[in-house]
């Protein structure tokens, strides 16, 4: 519950990361979501990923819209500022935040209602602008806070808790992201932390728009038989494509995989992203191939998870806009104001 303070005591055996911090230093307030909610697992995976990456816990900008998913930035990284904005408009706020300070890690958490319905436009446009951030959708196919209406990602034929089938086609945000410019697209399942946490790590370190669609069942309104977003359904229909391991710069890299079954990608910070392929024929750099594969699996009722696509060299919005390295919010009068002598010249140009 909200009003119960989380004990600050730390277990003596918790491992320390490179910053001498434990996982506890990356946590947030106690969740007020329902017991067993998939979203809490996503928050936990974010905590784990950030701790294992040894990132400074105060150097994040956490952004969200409105909905259950959008509450979650309270529940991780409480040393960082968060912004719970307007329904469906997290992308624009994140865009502004990232433009203002490119040096912060930017995490946006949204939901399927937030991103696929009211915010579909903003979702599409932040992807095409390639904001350097990790954009996570906690996708449960339903409106939880308003008690179980279908969302736009809900599959056609999937039923509500009362047994009424959804009549409309689903929007697949991962496919959209692939189509319009995300340079890192993955899908995962809140119930599979071993897959999710490394994907979050890789997404955070990816120097561009990283999108993760995380199926995250709603235990209150969309976890029944007949729902295609229930724990059981996803476990039974999930097809794994690719696991990603994030190997920091400092770690030794061992080639402990069969030739052809994995690929190492060197990240800009010197770390390595190791992709372990389940399907040796899948090319994770082929955007159009990825799109076709995702759609095919969807038609066959399979929930494809893993890293779907990555372009490690893609530009981000700051590259496109050619902004200075110094964060814009750190520029001073000397950097910004052209001064009175220049203004005299400008005045002359209007005479």
């Amino acid at each position: 519950m909200t009003f119960v303070a989380k004990p600050r005591a730390r277990h003596p055996l918790l491992p320390l990361n490179e910053l001498n911090l434990t996982r506890r230093d990356y946590e947030g307030a106690v969740s007020t979501l329902c017991a067993g909610c998939g979203h809490d697992s996503v928050s936990a995976a974010i905590v784990q990923a950030c701790a294992e990456l040894s990132l400074p816990p105060h150097r994040f900008a956490k952004l969200s819209g409105i909905g259950c998913s959008s509450k979650t930035p309270s529940y991780f990284l409480d040393k960082s500022h968060g912004f719970n904005s307007v329904h469906g408009r997290m992308p624009s706020v994140a865009t502004g935040a990232n433009l203002a300070n490119r040096a912060l890690y930017c995490i946006g958490v949204s939901g399927d209602g937030d991103s696929a319905s009211i915010g579909l436009g903003q979702f599409a446009h932040i992807v095409r602008r390639r904001i350097n951030m990790l954009y996570i959708v906690d996708n449960n196919g339903t409106y939880g806070l308003t008690k179980g209406q279908f969302s736009a990602t809900n599959d056609r034929g999937s039923t509500s808790k009362r047994g009424v089938p959804n009549l409309y086609e689903p929007i697949d945000l991962a496919s959209m992201a692939l189509q319009i410019g995300a340079s890192f697209v993955g899908r995962s399942f809140s119930g599979d932390k071993r897959q999710l946490a490394p994907l979050i790590k890789a997404g955070l370190m990816h120097p561009g728009m990283a999108f993760l669609d995380v199926i995250s069942p709603c235990v209150a309104f969309n976890n029944h038989n007949g729902s295609t977003k229930s724990f059981q359904y996803v476990r039974e229909h999930s097809g794994k494509l690719m696991e990603a391991d994030y190997i920091p710069q400092s770690a030794e890299i061992n080639a402990d995989y069969e030739p052809g079954s994995a690929e190492d990608l060197l990240m800009p910070d010197g770390s390595t992203l190791r992709l372990r392929k389940v399907d040796a024929n899948y090319d994770v750099h082929d955007r159009i191939g990825a799109l076709a594969h995702v759609q095919r699996c969807q038609d066959e009722g399979e929930v494809l998870t893993g890293l779907l696509y990555v372009d490690p060299d893609a530009a981000d919005c700051h590259d496109i806009l050619e902004t200075v390295e110094t964060p814009l919010n750190a520029l001073t009068e000397e950097d910004l104001c052209p001064g009175s002598r220049e203004l005299a010249r400008l005045n002359d140009s209007f005479r």
């Binding site: 816990p57 706020v93 050619e322």
Partner: protein, 608 residues
């Protein structure tokens, strides 16, 4: 001949997309360069090509630069609008038209003077290129006008040379077309006519500029680094000017990288969202929009008010409601902007009247938004934003520092035991904020549109909610002391006139006209909202105050009586909202009508 100098209204009637805008602009600029006060008004359609468009230039040595009723010289270049153009002329006015085709008998008026010139016929023999023939029509009448009005010809040719610098192949035919028109007017027309121009130095150090350009420079000087916007007339040119000047003046020399970011958003919701996100993260950010955009931004404005995030908006107002008349001017967003969004919200408004003030208020708005941690909306309008007029030169004090408001850095946080984002430490209703990433363990908080306590912790506690809302009221009271004060000219008259924004342009002339009719009014120009004490004192001191609004519903009058709990009967509404800027004649007439209807004494009658 009864010659008058530097005092006339000339209107150009053209077809839009025909290249007339640049010729007409050169006409106005030439007069400005001769030291003559001018104001240009582009009365244009929401269309790219083919519809009627007018360009009106008020020339007045006394500096009366508001719109004036009646046209002295009509340059009628659009056959489709001949009838209304001829009708717009004052008796004794001049109709300048292309008589390559004869004027229909039905259009003839015996109280005006016709100046026919066979422009199309002249061009037929001089230019073979069809495009040039069409384009130089405008240049030819410009040349003819130089002779008819006695404009110094080298001022115009100098402008052509400057405009096409380095493109000799464009300068030559342009000058040739100018000379063609001038030669014809000197040889065959009664040049000059009764309305003439003569060099003076009435413009002093003044510049000839539009409000949107000035506002863009103000935002640039004021340190804005993020501009997010969505194209909408009449605000578009502000965002475009910002980008243009920033590309020149805000590039890091060594790396050639930009010290700013401009994003053309997918809509106004996104534009304001980006501004709020950037400002939350410590960058100075703004958007430029118009009424429909403000409507779309309303939800976000409520968030920024409640979550206390700086944001700067320029509302270049146009005629509503709905799409209304998108290319015509109005002041019809006053109430919408003041109270934008759901719940109890109020927003700080600034009302510039001149391009210089657009510049000043743009920079001031960025300071005020940071100081007050709330949205600030600069209420310009189409007339001010898109039209060139003579303005005081822009000025900047190099000693000026940006007021970033109450922002705690890491060192300041170290000195505080417990940071409370919404604590009213100083009693002015403004809390201290921190920027993301400032300190490893202190100062982080969660920004939200839901209620919270002084330490930014989510709460639905009734007392905490109400305490917060009351603090926001204290902040509002602080804002009233920080916005630009009203300008007052008081001679102890019983009645006053209150106005804002572009209604200032015709005001001196209107008051001078009224004085001739025995009506003398004290005046107050409101420049900011919340209203300062001086506004209420002015109203209190006067038995009756006329309130000039360029909207149908008297929105400023409503705002005044609502905010000040004033007796509305004391506030006499003067309203003009037909889409052109309000004229001195209109204000004069409406005030006199009131005096007559109420049988109020006027000085002449009292004296007689």
């Amino acid at each position: 001949m009864n010659v008058t100098y530097n005092d006339f209204v000339i209107r150009f009637a053209n077809v839009n997309g025909s290249g007339s805008a640049s010729a007409n602009g050169m006409f106005a600029k030439a007069l400005f360069r001769m030291g003559v006060p001018v104001a240009a008004r582009n009365i244009f359609p929401s269309n790219i090509q083919g519809l009627p468009t007018w360009f009106e230039v008020r020339v007045n040595e006394q500096g009366y630069l508001g719109r004036r009723e009646g046209v002295d010289i009509m340059v009628a270049m659009n056959a489709e609008t001949y009838a209304e153009d001829v009708a717009a002329l004052k008796p004794g006015g001049y109709l300048f038209y292309d008589n390559s085709k004869p004027l229909a008998a039905s259009l003839r008026r015996n109280d005006i003077r016709e100046i026919g010139m066979p422009i199309a016929t002249l061009l037929l023999t001089e230019f073979t290129d069809l495009k040039q023939r069409a384009l130089f029509k405008n240049i030819v009448y410009l040349g003819a006008l130089s002779a008819l009005l006695n404009i110094e010809f080298d001022v115009i040719t100098g402008m052509v040379a400057k405009q096409y610098k380095g493109k000799d192949d464009l300068i030559r035919p342009n000058i040739h077309a100018l000379e063609l028109g001038r030669r014809y007017a000197l040889d065959y027309l009664d040049s000059p006519i009764e309305h003439q121009v003569r060099r003076t130095d009435a413009n002093g150090e003044g510049i000839f500029i539009d409000g949107n350009t000035a506002a863009a420079l103000g935002a640039l000087y004021g340190g804005a680094t993020v501009c997010a916007w969505y194209p909408i007339t009449p605000s578009t040119s502000m965002a475009e000017a910002f980008e243009r000047y920033a590309n020149r003046l805000r590039v890091e020399r060594k790396t050639e990288r930009r010290k700013f970011a401009v994003i053309q958003a997918e809509d106004e919701l996104s534009a304001i969202g980006m501004v709020i996100g950037a400002a939350w993260n410590g960058a100075r950010a703004f958007t430029a929009t118009s009424g429909p955009g403000v409507s779309l931004m309303s939800e976000f404005l409520g968030l920024a008010y409640f979550a206390e995030i700086p944001a700067v908006l320029f509302d270049v107002q146009r005629a509503g409601p709905s799409t209304g008349m998108p290319t015509r001017t109005q002041q019809s967003d006053v109430l919408g902007a003041a109270y934008a969004s759901h719940g109890d919200t109020r927003h700080v408004l600034l009302f510039p009247s001149t391009p210089k003030e657009c510049f000043d208020f743009a920079a001031d708005a960025l300071d005020l938004a940071d100081r007050l941690q709330t949205p600030v909306i600069v209420m310009s309008d189409l007339d001010l934003g898109m039209n060139d007029s003579v303005s005081e030169p822009l000025a900047w004090d190099d000693a000026r520092r940006y007021d970033r408001g109450k922002v705690l850095d890491a060192a300041a946080l170290d000195g505080i035991e417990r940071f409370g984002r919404y604590l009213d430490v100083d009693g002015d209703g403004i809390g201290y904020r921190t920027l993301p990433g400032t300190h490893p363990s202190k100062g982080a908080f969660f920004t939200r549109g839901t209620s919270r306590d002084e330490f930014a912790v989510y709460t639905e506690n009734p007392d905490a909610y109400q305490r917060n809302m009351e603090r926001l009221q204290r902040k509002w009271a602080t804002a009233a002391t920080l916005v630009p004060q009203a300008e007052i000219q008081s001679d102890g008259r019983k009645a006053g006139i209150l106005y804002y924004g572009t209604s200032a342009a015709p005001m001196q002339e209107a008051l001078d006209l009224l004085r001739e009719d025995g009506v003398r009014l004290d005046r107050i120009r409101v420049r900011g909202f919340p209203f300062g004490a001086e506004v209420y004192e002015f109203i209190d001191r006067h038995a009756m105050v006329f309130v000039v609004d360029q909207n149908r519903d008297g929105q400023m009058r409503t705002l005044l009586s609502n905010e000040g709990d004033l007796n509305p009967a004391k506030l006499i509404s003067l309203r003009y909202y037909a889409g052109l800027s309000v004229s001195a004649d209109e204000i004069h007439r409406q005030v006199l009508d009131h005096y007559r209807a109420q049988k109020l004494p006027r000085l002449k009658e009292v004296g007689a």
